[in-house]
């Protein structure tokens, strides 16, 4: 499949070796790590401090050992970690949201989520930088 676009938790990536099989999106292992940050390791599928074990019963649905290298099914992995995704067939674009452990607990602690966003000059501001002050945070839009 030519010209696949992944929007993975807000980051856009164009994998070189994406393969579409029905509704399944398969990536090479280097593309997997570049596009999503997830890496296949002996202990599971890992990113930062988190490793998701691969259940034996789902291993063949997640990983193909092909002649030209291994492939990983990111859509099947999304189902495993309760990650929402949306797909546009015509344009070959996929959007993946956050994993279940993030969206299920979001805001539950009432702790204000940290963020880093630019102003008009491109200077990036974080919430944590203002810790120790009361903060009035206002979302607006022109629409």
């Amino acid at each position: 499949m030519a010209g696949a676009t992944l929007l993975y938790q807000g980051t856009e990536y164009h994998p070189e070796g994406a393969r579409l099989d029905g509704d399944e999106l398969w990536l090479t292992l280097p593309d997997l790590t570049s596009a999503t940050g997830w890496e296949l390791k002996p202990e599971g599928v890992c990113k930062d401090e988190i490793c998701v074990p691969v259940p034996a019963a789902r291993r063949s649905a997640l990983i193909h050992e092909g002649a030209s290298g291994s492939e990983f099914d990111v859509t099947e992995f999304a189902r495993l970690i309760e990650q929402p995704f949306a797909h546009d067939e015509k344009h070959g674009v996929w959007d993946f949201g956050p994993p279940g452990w993030e969206w299920k607990t979001r805001l539950a602690s009432r702790e204000a989520p940290e963020f880093a966003l630019p102003d008009l000059t491109g200077h990036v501001h974080t919430l944590s930088r203002l810790r120790g002050n009361k903060i009035f945070l206002l979302f607006w839009a022109t629409w």
């Binding site: 979001r106 989520p113 102003d119 008009l120 919430l127 206002l138 607006w140 839009a141």
Partner: protein, 191 residues
């Protein structure tokens, strides 16, 4: 004070307003709605009070600094809300205007899987619309609207990237009355 423009058109849309207001606080841009999603912003404006320890003590207030009388056109400062903010600044945790757990839970409900699928379709629709495929974005926007009808953010942003009557077969006035969507704004509730 921090303001965040949750607007797919980013600086192109927000700059005239930010510049005209001569803002001195951080005026930030969230064109991918990353932070708006983290705070579950279902309409704008939406104001949050965050205390010195980084905890949300009021959430999602549909607040304007000024009010306009629909009949007379008279514009007045929203003193009631400003007084509430001043009360919080002066009294901190002893302010009468902090939300308890029950009211915070009503403003920040737990998400279900349909809600986050809606977010993915909204993101995908926005991406397509911003890349010159506004017509192809509609199927994703409509799916997001059906899965999360209470999000006016998803609707208003989508409408602004197309034509509400042509693309969605409704008008703003009709859509606001649709009982499936629930209220346009939550009650301000300063009690």
């Amino acid at each position: 004070m921090i303001t965040i423009a949750a607007d797919a058109r980013g600086a192109a849309a927000a700059e005239p307003f930010i510049s005209a207001a001569h803002q001195r606080h951080p005026s930030l841009l969230d064109e991918k709605f990353t932070v708006a999603e983290l705070y579950d912003v279902r309409n704008v404006p939406a104001a949050f009070w965050i205390d010195e320890d980084g905890r949300i003590v009021r959430a999602g207030d549909p607040i304007y600094a000024q009010r306009r009388n629909r009949e007379t056109g008279e514009v007045t400062v929203n003193k009631e809300y400003l007084d509430a903010v001043r009360d919080w600044v002066a009294k901190g945790p002893r302010s009468d205007y902090l939300m308890g757990q029950e009211r915070l839970a009503a403003r920040l409900p737990a998400l279900d899987f349909d809600d986050v699928i809606a977010a993915a379709d909204f993101q995908l629709g926005t991406y397509l619309a911003m890349h010159g495929h506004a017509a192809d974005a509609l199927v994703h926007f409509k799916k997001a609207h059906a899965l999360r009808p209470e999000s006016w953010t998803y609707k208003r942003q989508a409408w602004s990237l197309g034509d509400i009557e042509r693309d969605y077969g409704t008008t703003f006035q009709e859509a606001v009355k649709d009982p499936a969507s629930g209220p346009f704004y939550p009650p301000l509730d300063l009690g």
